[in-house]
């Protein structure tokens, strides 16, 4: 295998795939990237057996072929190379010679045959959607994924394809984020699948504002095809909890808040939320919310926020981090906060189909 490529193209290609590379060294081949030179391009593939990514870059291929090289090492070498033109030459024993300007590197690789192939998606159900929709949807939900490994079904985002709608749901048991995306697909493609956190993270990195994405669902795996990049992942087996149970049916009070103002106030006040109780209190009174936090033996913070509110006076406490996370992820100017009472969950909504349910914390006073 022999090719010449510019430093930028090679770096960009490696950046797309290198995050998947396994840090566990049980199988040495998994820390390698598969390079396949053919025609006018070189394909790059990495996998940790759960998630796999395939990207490519344009190159002047002199001799086609394939090999695998240690991904992290290759990336750090390429990043440091002085010249913009890089010559790659791999011999029959998988030893790669990298030449760029005055620099010369020789890296030992492993044969292509050892690299686990990415799964095939033959009779899979295929749905095509806009990249932007999925990117927005994942941004609005993925922060609520549970990191508690004992609740493995929650360690991912639910993709629920139902009634010409894709519903994305993430929850960790204290909060729940949900987005609906209008989508057309045949009835037979209806499915509930759980995409693991790692795949979601990688996918968010790959998604852009333009173009389409092709989602192929196999029996226990999924592939996301973004024209020149492919991401495949195993699915989390098990049933995602019935999230609808969590959503309060009606709200007693609704306040409309300017997202950024509210977020900034929360951010300031939360500086004095104690690590221990970690709660921030919203005190509602006529046309005003007092946001307060205090830590014993440290101090307290208070900020008033004028709002249109005509309901009864009451206080409710939330985990500030959990309240700020959706506000950061959203882009809308206005958000609605629906409340019932101090012990019932609060619901954050926007104009478009999005929902964030957050359990209040007990007010100790």
């Amino acid at each position: 295998m022999k090719f010449t490529v510019t430093k930028e193209k090679l770096l960009e290609g490696l950046q797309q795939v290198q995050n998947v590379v396994s840090t566990r060294t049980t199988l040495p081949i998994l820390s390698n990237v598969l390079l396949q030179a053919n025609g006018k391009e070189v394909r790059l593939t990495t996998t940790d057996l759960d998630v796999g990514v395939r990207g490519s870059f344009e190159a002047d291929v002199e001799k086609s072929g394939a090999t695998t090289l240690p991904a992290r090492r290759l990336f750090s070498i390429i990043r440091e190379l002085p010249s913009s033109e890089i010559h790659f030459d791999v011999d029959g024993k998988n030893t790669a010679s990298i030449r760029s300007g005055q620099s010369f590197f020789k890296i030992l690789g492993l044969p292509e045959e050892e690299f686990p192939p990415l799964p095939k998606f033959e009779d899979a159900k295929v749905v095509t959607m806009r990249q932007k929709d999925l990117r927005d949807g994942l941004r609005k939900t993925s922060y609520a994924i549970s990191t508690d490994e004992t609740r493995y079904v929650l360690n991912g985002v639910l993709f629920s394809f139902k009634e010409n709608k894709l519903t994305l749901v993430a929850t960790d048991g204290r909060r729940l984020a949900m987005v609906d995306i209008e989508l057309e697909f045949p009835r037979s493609h209806e499915a509930d699948i759980i995409v693991p956190t790692k795949a979601v993270t990688e996918l968010q990195r790959l998604l852009s504002d333009n173009g389409d994405i092709k989602v192929s669902m196999g029996s226990n795996q999924i592939a996301f095809d973004l024209n020149n990049t492919l991401l495949v992942s195993k699915l989390i087996e098990g049933n995602y909890p019935n999230y609808k149970q969590v959503i309060p049916s009606e709200a007693k009070e609704r306040v409309t808040l300017e997202r950024e103002t509210f977020l900034n106030s929360l951010r300031r006040v939360s500086l004095l939320a104690s690590d221990k109780s970690n709660s921030i209190k919203l005190n509602f009174s006529k046309n005003n919310i007092d946001i307060t936090a205090n830590t014993p033996e440290v101090g307290e913070a208070k900020e008033s926020l004028p709002v249109a509110y005509k309901g009864r006076d009451f206080s409710i406490a939330f985990n500030p981090e959990f309240l700020m996370a959706p506000l950061r992820a959203l882009t809308e100017d206005e958000v609605y906060l629906d409340l019932i009472d101090e012990m019932s969950p609060g619901v954050l909504k926007i104009q478009t189909p999005f929902l964030y349910v957050l359990m209040p914390m007990r007010i100790s006073s």
Binding site: D172, Q245, P248
Partner: protein, 449 residues
Amino acid sequence: MKDKCAELWQRLAAALKPQVSADTFKRWFSTVELVDATDTRLTFRVPNNIYQFWIESNHMAALQAAIMTAFGAPREVKFVFPGNSGEAREEAVVSQRSETSDETKSSGSALGLNPRNTFETFVVGPNNEIAHAASLAVAQAPARTYNPLFIYGGVGLGKTHLMQAIGDFVWRKKKSTKVLYVSSELFINEFIDAIQHSNLVKFRKRYRQGDLLLIDDIQFLAGKERSQEEFFHTFNTLFDGHKQIVLSSDRPASEIANLEKRLVSRFEWGLTAELQPPDTETRMAILRMKARAMQIKLSDEIFQFLANRIRSNVRRLEGALMRVASFASLSGKELTHDVVEHLLKDILQEEARHSITIEQIQRRVAEHFDLRLADMTSKRRPANIAFPRQVAMYLARELTKASLNEIGDAFGGRDHGTVLHACKLVRKRMKEQDSLRQTISFIDSSLQR
């Protein structure tokens, strides 16, 4: 069980309602069902996993507070829902089987019975056939044959096994029977607790409304006067109500020190059955049975070796078998005589220690009667020396394998007639005097230790 759970849940729900909002209660707790309740753990059945996740994350504090209010002590909380792991599946299977689903599952734990202790797994030999037959008779017709049934025998001979087998058998035959199996220690503790919290009525209700009361290790009642009194009344109520009572002890009722006369006489009222250490054949049978149950394959030679060398009790026998088997499966080495001997070194030593020598007996008896060891072998024969000497001879005859002549020799060259006479005399006196019987059984047990 179902009714009990429903009742407990009522109490818990009442305590929980003020802790959470009405909407929360309706949403998360109205469909929750309490399916199993022990002293340490409550198991709730929820429709699906979101209930578990959400309750665990958000309402655990409220739930635990309600548990404290309702039951006075914290409990471990467990959730099951259809489709999760082993337990729920098992439950699903059970519920198909019969309407008494929950009870079947919770049988052993709720009653405190070990499901392995049944009549089928009890190996009958000449040492325990009477006790076994009596237990079986009691189990088949509670309160109609022998009431109370008093089983006694040394450690690890199967008292608990038989009692639990009775409980299990009776309960299996008729699920509505109230079977109560407790150790006397638990009885005492609950009694003390009841006095402390002044809810004796509840305590009495618990014990006096059972159909079958099984009390293990009754000898621990000794010296606990209030408990004895309470037990006396419990006993009478049950007995008069024609309910079966089964008791076990490590010694005959009459030999339990500090046990009230009226209790002793009641214990001896029905049938007293003794369990003795198993003979070699029975030990072989036990070993084979256990090995089958544990799915262990050992050669006959090893079985023979274990059965011959470990005589004192079944529990130890089982332990030795387990040790040999696990060694075999872990190391994969072939089990030879030497290997087994090395493996069981400590157990075998312990066993050997149990073969009592005449000298030990003499020493122990002399100590007890406050004599010098030399008095045991001397020619002097005033009554205060002669009688203890005769007791020692009797014990030597009973506890060792020595012949009459050997015993005579050990006691300063007396002939076998003297020894024979001593044994007869002691036996006769033991029948006449309870105090002597107690003394001798005390020395006996201290020697066995």
